[in-house]
């Protein structure tokens, strides 16, 4: 099990940009096709995202990650091609199945929206350490308690993953069947989850005590160990992202 997240450690102009600007970018640009409601706009934004991923030197990783949902996208074309309610023009005939033009066009639109959403998010996810993003959000006003919850998820998951393999090894060494038909695999699930979850919840009590001892519940403002992340292009980037979203809205209304 890999560490949580898609972050790739590299040096690039995108890695240097502050996390909040990239978050603003990802949210705005992911929404542009939804707001604009136009396939051409979606393609323009997709190309823009590909260029940005290339600038961030993570294009290869991004496309590999996107290929993971390739199968689902193929089923989207096949199923929508057959069953889309607006289907009238038959295009391809494969045995008893007919794919219609309207359904395929609709699938293309859904796919473009999804690919753009994913690539926009990748611009943030591949170039930003999740911990940096949460730290910045806390400095920007996110309650520290929420920040703690988000950050500790990122820390707990790898430690739990390490514990899974220890438990599974222990169970396998005692002769437990963990491979075979579906029902054997389902049965192998509970014995892992039990010890894992219960020990994690018991450890949780100790964590709560440790936090209390360090003044976690104390009132008053918090100070930060780190300086805020400054970048000279931060505000231009945020403004550009928001105006892209506004342009999409104008595009929608003007048509």
């Amino acid at each position: 099990m890999r560490p949580v997240g898609l972050y790739v450690e590299r040096r690039s102009p995108l890695h240097a940009l502050d996390p909040i600007s990239k978050l603003v970018y990802a949210v705005c640009l992911a929404l542009v096709p939804f707001v604009a409601g136009d396939l051409r706009v979606a393609f323009v934004v997709i190309v823009g995202n590909v260029v940005l991923l290339a600038i961030g030197r993570v294009l290869r990783e991004g496309l590999i990650a996107l290929a993971g949902v390739g199968f689902f996208l193929v089923t989207l074309f096949v199923v929508q091609g057959m069953v889309y309610p607006g289907n009238v023009t038959p295009l391809v005939r494969i045995g008893p199945l007919v794919l219609y033009l309207e359904g395929l066009a609709y699938a293309l639109w859904l796919t473009a929206r999804f690919v753009n959403l994913t690539l926009s998010a990748f611009v943030l996810l591949f170039t930003t350490r999740p911990a940096d993003l949460v730290e910045e959000l806390v400095q920007a006003g996110l309650p520290p308690r929420v920040g703690y919850v988000l950050l500790s998820v990122l820390q707990i998951i790898p430690s739990m993953a390490a514990r899974i393999s220890v438990i599974q090894d222990a169970q396998r060494s005692r002769g437990m069947e963990t491979e075979g038909p579906v029902w054997v695999r389902v049965r192998a699930l509970l014995p892992v989850l039990g010890p894992l979850v219960i020990s994690s919840l018991v450890a949780m009590q100790e964590r709560a005590l440790a936090l209390e001892v360090r003044g976690f519940g104390a009132p008053g403002p918090r100070t930060s160990y780190r300086l805020p992340w400054r970048h000279r292009l931060a505000w231009p980037a945020r403004l550009a992202a928001v105006s892209a979203l506004l342009l999409a809205l104008i595009w929608r209304l003007a048509r």
Binding site: T75, F114, V153, Q205
Partner: protein
């Protein structure tokens, strides 16, 4: 922060302590592990809400709902941006699981199965409009989508086919999820659970 024992505890009452706060990340991590195990074992299920349901069983519907919400936020921010769209589904699962627990549906396995069915129905009702908007009604699960295609080709309306597409997967997934969470909940030490209990009335209902 601790509110202490309350005599007028309702279904929604929650004890907000540091312990409650550290329950969120553990619940989310359990969700993650469930999802990982389901994928590793190539099960045709999601099993990605065991932690949300367990948190709801332990600390009530509001904690369940928040665990679900934070789960999808963190998942969207790290791995899969699409999970933001299903934010509401996770909130619904946590909320309903907590309400069912407080209404006494985790006293026996039979009742837990009923709770699982209710959770599945709520998850389906919340998810299928999102599926229609995002994917023209599909879920991405091979079994469900095969059913969806077969139904739509026989003239079943899209919304109904999409609802059933989600339901076939969710029914099995959520009943199993609730049963696993129920089993885990039963195995938890009383010493841990007592710190989340609200008062005498509540103690009798969930124990």
């Amino acid at each position: 922060m601790a509110t202490g024992t309350q005599s007028g505890a309702s279904i929604w009452t929650t004890r907000w302590t540091t312990l409650t706060l550290v329950l969120f990340p553990v619940g989310i991590a359990i969700n993650f592990v469930g999802k990982y195990v389901a994928q590793a074992l190539k099960l045709p299920l999601w099993l990605d809400s065991i932690g949300t349901v367990l948190a709801a069983f332990i600390a009530g519907p509001l904690v369940g709902a928040l665990t679900g919400a934070i789960n999808n936020i963190i998942y969207g921010l790290t791995v899969d941006p699409v999970s933001f769209w299903y934010f509401i589904t996770s909130v619904g699962i946590g909320l309903v699981a907590g309400v069912m627990a407080r209404l006494g549906f985790i006293r026996s396995t039979a009742r837990a199965i009923i709770a699982g069915v209710v959770v599945a129905l709520v998850a389906t009702v919340v998810s299928f409009p999102i599926n229609i908007y995002l994917w023209g009604g599909q879920t991405g699960n091979v079994w469900g989508d095969a059913l969806f295609t077969a139904l739509t080709l026989r003239g079943v309306p899209l919304w109904l086919a999409s609802f059933l597409d989600e339901l076939v997967v969710d029914l099995l997934d959520k009943v199993l999820t609730v049963l696993i969470a129920f089993g885990l909940f039963k195995a938890l030490p009383r010493r841990l659970l007592s710190q989340f209990e609200l008062g005498e009335g509540e103690l009798r209902r969930t124990a």
